[in-house]
């Protein structure tokens, strides 16, 4: 409980982890607030159905609060007249104002996870896919970090829930703002899952490798961080993990 997990991908697509965590927490009976900035609801729904979870049903019973970034952005952009009438600011309000503060987004997260009736679920989870997009939309890294900090206080400390965040990063990246963001988040995470392609190149049977770093050093017991490396292959409904060099194609 109260853990911050960082998912990072390097030149490959780590979104399969997002789908995994989403279905995992929904099956575990937690209340999930999913800030989906990059894809539409139907995409997540289709994948989740293959993994055995129905997102529409979860939404209906109040277990899942889904913020579809693309849709909110469109409403904000093209539906200005209605905005003033409804009185409730859009979570992506920062797009409009030059003062880039993600407070509206945080308010959205807060209202969704502390809504009446949330106590009946087994825990709270905030899932974000993906944070790097916020930078593309004009938020400064400091604003994004502030947002994450507020979320941590709310979700991890107050509600004893978990946060899972996806970012993109790679070594030769020239995107300094992004690197700043990722480095900072790495330092604060309890668990880092780093997904990257194989160093030797493209392979049909092994799609990539995943580094699992448990930040035991944060617990101040004098232990080092634990690092484990596995390789994986993504299939239609499943992802198989195996030790390095031991893919099914080789054995």
């Amino acid at each position: 409980q109260g853990k911050f997990t960082l998912l990072a991908d390097s030149r490959t697509d780590g979104s399969f982890l997002v789908h995994h965590f989403l279905s995992f927490y929904l099956r575990a009976g937690c209340k999930v607030c999913f800030v989906a900035l990059l894809q539409s609801f139907s995409h997540y729904n289709s994948v989740a159905q293959k993994l055995g979870v129905s997102l529409t049903a979860a939404k209906e019973r109040g277990q899942l609060v889904f913020l579809e970034g693309l849709k909110s952005c469109l409403d904000l952009w093209f539906g200005e007249e209605e905005e003033e009438q409804s009185g409730q600011p859009s979570p992506l309000q920062f797009l409009r104002e030059s003062a880039s503060s993600l407070k509206a987004l945080f308010d959205f997260v807060q209202t969704s996870l502390t809504a009446p009736g949330s106590g009946s679920w087994k825990g709270s989870v905030l899932l974000v896919d993906d944070l790097s997009v916020l930078l593309s939309l004009g938020a400064t890294p400091v604003a994004v970090l502030d947002f994450i900090h507020y979320c941590r206080v709310l979700v991890c400390s107050q509600l004893k829930g978990n946060i899972v965040v996806l970012v993109h990063s790679h070594e030769d990246s020239e995107d300094e703002e992004n690197e700043l963001l990722v480095n900072s988040l790495c330092h604060h995470s309890d668990l880092i899952l780093w997904v990257e392609g194989l160093a030797t190149g493209f392979c049909k049977d092994v799609h990539g490798q995943i580094k699992i770093i448990r930040r035991v050093s944060l617990e101040l017991t004098g232990k080092q961080d634990e690092l484990q490396i596995y390789q994986y292959k993504i299939q239609d409904k499943n992802v198989t993990f195996f030790a390095r060099g031991l893919s099914a194609a080789v054995l």
Partner: protein, 341 residues
């Protein structure tokens, strides 16, 4: 879909026209936007489709063992098509999407009559009224977005009008975005004034495309963009990213390994929509060439290594450039393996 233009814009223009031509032949509606060429002119230059079977079998005979269908186009409706000739040993009787085009001829105007097309030519568009200037975006982009949204709404591509009997797809082609002609200075300076305009535009466009029955191709002069961070962000925001590197004017033109081709195709990203995985093709080395009538994309073949004097350095260059491909690819098509374990 996102195409990085090659240096002289020749080949990316060709792909752009192919996309639009395919739309005409399939009966889709078109939306063409450009800042440098009037859409009328662009449409006049679309390649003519080859509709007779005789020609197709001729293509089949010319075949070398190469693979096509590396163009994946998947937005709201995930469908794949290949608009480039399939050069396989067996005749193209299996799942064949798309049509072949003859580059040397232009499409006849009667084919246009059945479809509706909308053009957006920046110099002719009125600037946006001040009250609509929202979200700190470049005026030209904002105008373009408004235009696209208006068409989508009016023509019912977003499904909001249930009475509309026939659903159609809107193909959007945006040429040379990010260049100076659109009023964006990301090509001219490393710290542009408004570095987020382009990415914001892409995000909103993505939202529009996801919400409606449309597909979009964008060509961008990537080599001109100074700030690489923007290119990375743009890549993350797109579904498919294809880079075209032509050999014109570069040292690779005279490299004997590349003598059959006009350029390389770098597939940087393929879409993963509605499923965990995407279709991962066997090889990622692709090269293109423009023959008199056809534009083909095929696997990169090394010519047979007949002479002893083919120097080590040229092979090394090839391996180096291959490493730049997405997640690296060291294996060449003919089994020349430069990997050292």
């Amino acid at each position: 879909v996102f195409t990085e233009e090659d240096k002289y814009g020749l080949y990316s223009n060709l792909l752009f026209k192919y996309f639009l031509a395919e739309g005409v032949v399939c009966g889709h509606d078109l939306f063409v936007a450009s800042a440098k060429e009037h859409p009328d002119n662009i449409l006049k230059e679309l390649p003519a489709p080859l509709l007779d079977d005789a020609h197709r079998s001729e293509l089949g005979e010319e075949a070398t063992a190469a693979k096509s269908e590396d163009f994946q186009d998947a937005m709201k409706i995930a469908w794949r098509y290949q608009n480039l000739p399939k050069m396989g040993a067996n005749p193209p009787t299996s799942t064949k999407f798309g049509h072949y085009y003859d580059v040397s001829k232009t499409m006849s105007p009667d084919l246009f009559k059945s479809i509706k097309w909308h053009g957006f030519y920046l110099p002719e568009e009125l600037p946006l009224q001040p009250k609509k200037k929202v979200c700190n975006m470049n005026n030209a982009y904002a105008r373009l977005l408004q235009s696209i949204q208006r068409i989508i709404y009016q023509e019912g591509f977003d499904g909001c009008d249930p009475q509309k009997k026939q659903k159609n797809i809107l193909r959007i082609g945006l040429q040379s975005l990010g260049s100076m002609l659109w009023g964006d200075d990301i090509c001219s300076s490393e710290t542009p004034e408004d570095s987020h305009s382009f990415t914001k535009f892409l995000y909103v466009l993505r939202g529009l495309l996801r919400k409606s029955l449309s597909a979009c191709i964008i060509t961008v002069p990537a080599h001109l963009i100074q700030n690489k961070a923007i290119m990375e962000r743009v890549t993350n925001l797109s579904d498919v990213v294809v880079g075209l590197e032509s050999f014109i004017g570069s040292e690779k033109e005279t490299n004997p390994l590349y003598k059959d081709y006009h350029g390389l195709v770098h597939v940087h990203q393929i879409p993963r929509l509605n499923s965990l995985i995407c279709d991962v093709s066997d090889t990622k080395d692709l090269a293109f060439r423009l023959k008199r009538k056809l534009f083909t994309i095929e696997r990169l073949h090394l010519p047979p290594d007949l002479s002893d004097t083919v120097s080590r350095t040229s092979k090394q260059d090839l391996a180096d450039s291959a490493k730049l491909l997405s997640s690296g690819c060291g294996a060449m098509a003919m089994g020349k393996n430069h990997l050292d374990f």
